[in-house]
């Protein structure tokens, strides 16, 4: 039954893609508000993976349960990073921001390399090898849970920006920083909060990803680029776009890895990135500036 | 009297909003024409259409009988139109002299010759003593002068000046007016200027075109325009209120 087979692969890819999308959501939130491109995003994600690995190793916590702890820790780190360093760069030229964050990325990834070594670390949960039958498809239990959790977190984030007072203030600040300052919003505080939220979100994505992939420092630059690819495809600053882009990339990676060679699957993503950059740089759901 | 620049039926919309609508006027060779009007009247958009920053939706711009439609800003400059920016755009990290050298290199291959030309232009704009300073360290009046110097160094036949007198003190306005009058009288430079400083408009211009809401509402000598009731209502009246 080849059609079912493809369907199965696509569904698996879609679930992984939801986690990718969640990671990209964090990048998009930071860019959309602070207007700084977080080149250390994948590094934060891998930090989230290691957080889940450690909590599973020492406390035997399921990554789904440790995700809130990881989120809290990364929130604080992101908040401090914005307050301490990045905030000074908000008004500086773009290339200075990139270089700053590339430096931070390099510190993070090599710090992790020194702490954890180059070898892969995995998390084992009781349902690691379980599968669930849904119609004609046979899906991994870990993937289903990770995908579902990604949707829950993304929904919570949308709700936060849509309904909460703080979320609305952040949105106002993204639309018109000057106006927000005029009406008395604490811009620097909101920026730090936003960077913290972005870091927390990508940390959760990392914790969920630890269910699917073994943690290695080398994954970090790949995830940074992957997040970029996704937000550019979805539209830089567009939250639904990030989730949509994540699912697209997840499915296309899974199919490309199966139809071509697994090692060529990211080539496909870069191809898509180049085409989108050239033809629709504002992304699928982005607004033209 | 031949027209150096002819603008006819020029229109531009931004997201459905009419910024410039069916504007026509012509600048006679060797004269100074002032483009005035309240904020948002479409003056700078008209400038940008002439300078090739974006294409017009309708209408044509002709310089000495040559259509300029579809040319990029650098080609417009090569055709003989120099411009300044309302929000000054100095090359901040370069020195004042280097800024003007870049302008002179528009028509000059040799850097040494361009430098000599740049010095002459700086002399003229009373910026010679600032030549070696980084442009970003200049005061606003000097930055405005630098804008004019850089545009002038491209040796234009028509100079577009976008509010070069705004923000200057009265004495500085007088000095700049003197420089512009001198360029016009002695070298026959044709000038199209957007200006809010009415005193300078009255002193300098041979002809005034008034825009309001993207449309031309008056065109004539300064005295005629000032007496025009429509102008008084839309612009001068609003200004005095």
């Amino acid at each position: 039954m080849p059609i079912d087979y493809y369907l199965n692969i696509a569904a698996s890819g879609l679930l992984t893609g939801l986690v990718y999308g969640l990671a990209a959501l964090g990048l998009s939130v930071i860019f959309g508000v602070v207007r700084v491109v977080n080149f250390a995003h994948g590094e934060m994600m891998v930090a989230g993976m290691y957080g889940a690995v450690l909590l599973a190793g020492f406390l035997g916590l399921d990554p789904l349960l440790s995700a809130p702890i990881v989120a809290a820790v990364l929130f604080v780190c992101g908040w401090l990073l914005q307050r301490g360093v990045v905030n000074k760069f908000v008004e500086r030229p773009e290339h200075m921001q990139f270089i700053l964050l590339l430096g931070i990325a390099s510190i993070l990834v090599n710090g992790m390399l020194m702490l954890f070594g180059p070898d892969a670390r995995n998390v084992s949960v009781p349902y690691s090898f379980d599968t669930v039958e849904i119609g004609p498809m046979l899906l991994d239990a870990v993937r289903l849970r990770a995908g579902a959790a990604a949707i829950v977190v993304a929904a919570a984030l949308f709700a936060f920006f849509r309904f909460s007072r703080t979320g609305k203030a952040i949105r106002a600040c993204a639309d018109n920083p000057l106006g927000a300052r005029v009406v008395g919003l604490n811009i620097d505080g909101l920026y730090a909060l936003t960077f913290g939220i972005g870091a927390a979100v990508v940390g959760v994505a990392g914790a969920l990803m630890s269910l699917l992939v073994d943690a290695r420092p080398q994954l970090a630059p790949e995830y940074t680029l992957l997040s970029f690819i996704i937000v550019i495809i979805g539209g830089l600053g567009s939250l639904p776009g990030a989730l949509l882009g994540g699912m697209l990339i997840g499915v296309s990676e899974a199919l490309a890895g199966f139809l071509l060679m697994p090692s060529l699957k990211s080539l496909f993503s870069y191809g898509v990135l180049i085409v989108v950059l050239l033809l629709r740089p504002q992304g699928l759901l982005g607004k033209r500036s | 009297m031949t027209a150096l620049l002819t603008v006819s039926g020029l229109s531009k919309r931004f997201r459905g909003l009419k910024a410039v609508s069916n504007v026509s006027f012509s600048v006679p060779e060797g004269r100074i024409l002032a483009l005035i009007g309240p904020n948002g009247a479409g003056k700078t958009t008209t400038f940008n259409l002439i300078a090739g920053v974006f294409p017009a939706d309708e209408g044509t711009v002709t310089l000495k009988g040559t259509r300029l439609g579809g040319l990029k800003p650098n080609q417009i400059c090569a055709a003989g139109i120099g411009r300044t920016f309302q929000i000054v755009k100095p090359f901040g990290a370069l020195t004042v002299e280097e800024n003007v050298v870049v302008g002179a290199l528009a028509r000059e291959r040799s850097v040494a010759v361009a430098r000599a030309q740049a010095r002459a232009v700086l002399e003229r704009l009373e910026l010679a003593d600032q030549a070696a300073r980084p442009a970003r360290s200049l005061t606003l009046p000097d930055r405005k002068r630098l804008e004019v110097a850089r545009a002038l160094a491209t040796r234009p036949t028509l100079l577009l000046l976008d509010e070069v007198l705004a923000g200057l003190r009265p004495t500085e306005v007088d000095r700049m007016v003197e420089v512009l009058r001198d360029l016009n009288r002695r070298e026959g430079l044709t000038i199209l200027m957007i200006e809010h400083v009415m005193r300078a408009v009255m002193a300098l211009s041979d002809q005034v075109v008034v825009l309001d809401h993207g449309e031309k509402i008056a065109d004539g000598t300064p005295a005629e325009v000032v007496a025009d009731p429509r102008v008084v209502e839309s612009y001068l009246g609003a200004e005095e209120a």
């Binding site: 200075m96 680029l225 550019i232 080539l267 870069y270 740089p281 | 090359f91 901040g92 290199l105 528009a106």
Partner: protein
Amino acid sequence: MTGRGIVLLVLAGLLLAVAPLVGDRYVVSVLTTVLWFAYVGQAWNVMMGFSGLLSLGHALYVGLGAYVSAALFVHYGIGPWAGMLLAMLVSVAVGTFIGFLGFRFGVKGVHFSLLTIAFAEVARIGFDHIQWLGGSGGLFLPVEAGVSDPLNLRGSPTLFYYVILALVLGALALSRVLLHSRLGYQWLAVREDPEAAEAVGVDLFRARMTAVAVSSALTALGGVFQAFYFNNLFPEQVFSMGRSIEIILPAIVGGIGTLIGPILGAFILTPLGEGLTFLIEAGGLDLPGLKQLFYGVALVTIVVFRPEGVWPWLARRLRLVRQPGEEA
């Protein structure tokens, strides 16, 4: 420059010229690495420093230069002096192709930088699968001990040292000439304000394309050197994102857009990194990543505290260059 600056520069040049006569093998090898980074840093500086185009994928041009020249040598016995012409040609062709796409489609700022990364990554993954070039297993150049054949760039470390020293001096001279030319002024204008540059007659597309062409050609030569110096090439190393970052470091630390900056930056960074490795190894520790971690710290420190780089600051403090306002 002031007389003092020129004296210091000449002195540094003389010191470098006699270094292999007084230093041992280790010193020569470290200096070769320093000069290599100084060279590629200068090449990158043409794009970012002179014309404001942030390429974060310069490993692509190093890799293309390295693979083209190595393939010609391994498969056809064509030496690097001839091979470098094709290496530069291929690199320029790819560079201008990326530039053409980017500039024609109006890809700006962060999007342009991502475009350069994307192409470097495509090359990395693609070269992993080109078996003719060794694939992911690597491409190796034949090494014979004791052979001295400068025509094929085979020989002692001293030969390589002088080759890379010549490249650095050549790139310095070329950068200086370009910066004082009409094209150089136009590049700087485009870097400072593209819109204003265009208004004074600069053809943005042409200025940017020439910057990409010069930069990619120079960088490709760095790749040729690398191939024949190390005698092995792996796509995972040569084209990696990490390598692209290492290339931009010297210029950032030394001073983006300055002539001496990339050279000074390499002389600061590489010895510090080497010293750190040396200390760690002497202590009997094995800490992979420490050198890169240190580079990361250096990068952050520089952009936070000395964003214009070390050279402009040093030159001011030591009065090596004339300050604006001083008589020329």
